[in-house]
Amino acid sequence: MRENEFNKTISQIDTDAFMDKRITEHLLAYEEGSVKNNKIKWRAESLIRRKKAFLSSVARVAAAFIFFFVMGIALVWSSGYFKRTSPGNANSVNPKLAESSDDDLETIMEMIEPATEENTAQAIEPMKEEIEADFLPKDMNAKKITTKNYRGGRKIINGPFVVGYRIGQEPDEDVIKTILDNCDIYPGDDAFAEIGLPDITPTHLMNHYLLDKDGYVYKKEEYDNRTHEYIRAFFTYDSTLNKKVYLFYYPVDASIEDIRFISNDDYDIVTSDYTTKNGLTFTLIDYQKERHFNDAKIMFDSETLGNGIYTLQFSPGMTQEEIEEILESVPIDADAITIIQPKYEDISYEDPIVFKTE
């Protein structure tokens, strides 16, 4: 068969008018069975909300700018700086400065440190995105230690090890070295290597969040005549613990097809899907009775990665946008895995749960 003949043949494989009608109608009436369903309304409204949010954020920034500008002017004015430059009323406005002698001015000038290469570099250093630091604890098998800016503070990153501190708490090198030398933390890539996987921590967490001092916990336990393994890590955006993310990975010997989750009405869960740009579809589980604690779960069978359950648990303070940003950075190749939808089985409380007591 020639190429154009093949093309002609496969062009016969196409949708028909009835199929087009069924699919488009279903798309328009998705979930509610009406064109004006909530989803479409929500979508339309979300566009308006986004526009409004943009305008309000612009207004907020403008208001903040005006506020700080006015405050700055007021502060400078109250310090007498502007008034001193006005010779006409110098005496009446700021007698101290007006009466200051040349000696006083010299003293003031001496207090101001002249700009040198060294102190300019010191001032600029914290503003740099990433700076190599000198205090490498050689015995830590460190990949790289860097200091990075993050909101209002800095953190030291040694590969997967992260120690954060606030601006104003200048890092004592000895303290940092002690922390790094003694912290009982497990590098992410080593933890995942235990189960033959590359590090699949979302890169957004590694770059913007702090890893808990426990690091990556890898556990292997034997019970129910089976080996249970998992990797756990806890990340927080900052020390306020408002934004927390728990990472869990459970490798599974059998196919994920055989896994069932147990659920009951008490959890009151709402599930939805989120598909990343890379084609990974996460099942988002909103635990409504747990103050909207969200799980993003992906269950897969894979010839290269093995079978497993990858779960990210987000604290209630996190927005959908933040969750999506983290999910987008999950370094799992969608082509390498076959995603399995989670299956739930309800528990009926009419059947009492009996614990085996031997």
């Binding site: 068969m1 020639r2 190429e3 154009n4 093949f6 093309n7 043949t9 496969i10 016969q12 494989i13 196409d14 949708t15 199929m19 087009d20 069924r22 699919i23 488009t24 279903h26 798309l27 328009l28 998705y30 064109v35 004006k36 989803k39 479409i40 309304k41 979508r43 339309a44 409204e45 566009l47 308006i48 097809e257 939805s272 899907d273 989120y274 598909t275 990343t276 740009k277 890379n278 084609g279 579809t281 069978d301 999506e324 987008e328 969608a334 082509d335 076959t338 995603i339 399995i340 939808q341």
Partner: protein
């Protein structure tokens, strides 16, 4: 405000129709070449478009969106096939009639039997119309690797190149 809402609703409908018309043919062919029947292909197509219209992220370009929907469709097909084989409901040798010409049926059967690694290259080249360099980028393969798979795929499908005749 009502006017804005109406116009947004209209935009959404337009968006859905435009996307559907742009992608339906090649996505249907991709789905069909995996699952081999209209009904399941329609379900997969519907699911892929729901994901695109209601759950997709913002795309930086139309090309990103196209690649995303192709990937999602292929993943849906693979998921479908897993349950398909797992439940062992249908055997490839006993597939129901496709209701196409006998020659088309023969091509479809050859496509269904094609190993996945050749199938994906054939789909992207013939169904979607990507060039070898683009396929190499999408599948993260070298161009020579794509050419080799394309060659073997053609051999298995008994396709002769136009300039080889």
């Amino acid at each position: 405000m009502d006017q804005i809402e109406c116009s947004e609703l209209w935009n959404t409908e337009k968006f859905i129709y435009e996307k559907y018309q742009s992608y339906k043919s090649f996505l249907f062919r991709i789905a069909f070449s995996y699952v081999g029947n209209k009904q399941d292909s329609e379900d997969i197509l519907q699911e892929a478009f729901i994901k695109l219209c209601y759950y997709a992220p913002d795309f930086s370009s139309a090309e990103d969106e196209k690649r995303w929907i192709i990937r999602v469709t292929i993943n849906l097909c693979k998921n479908h096939l897993r349950s398909f084989w797992y439940k062992n409901k249908v055997n490839i040798d006993n597939l129901e009639s496709f209701a196409y010409e006998p020659k088309t049926e023969e091509v479809i059967l050859d496509l269904l039997r094609l190993p996945v690694k050749y199938k994906s290259v054939i789909q992207l080249y013939y169904f979607v119309g990507y060039k070898v360099s683009e396929i190499a980028e999408i599948l993260n393969l070298s161009e020579s690797g794509v050419k080799m798979r394309l060659k073997r795929g053609r051999e298995l499908l008994k396709i002769e190149l136009e300039d080889a005749k």
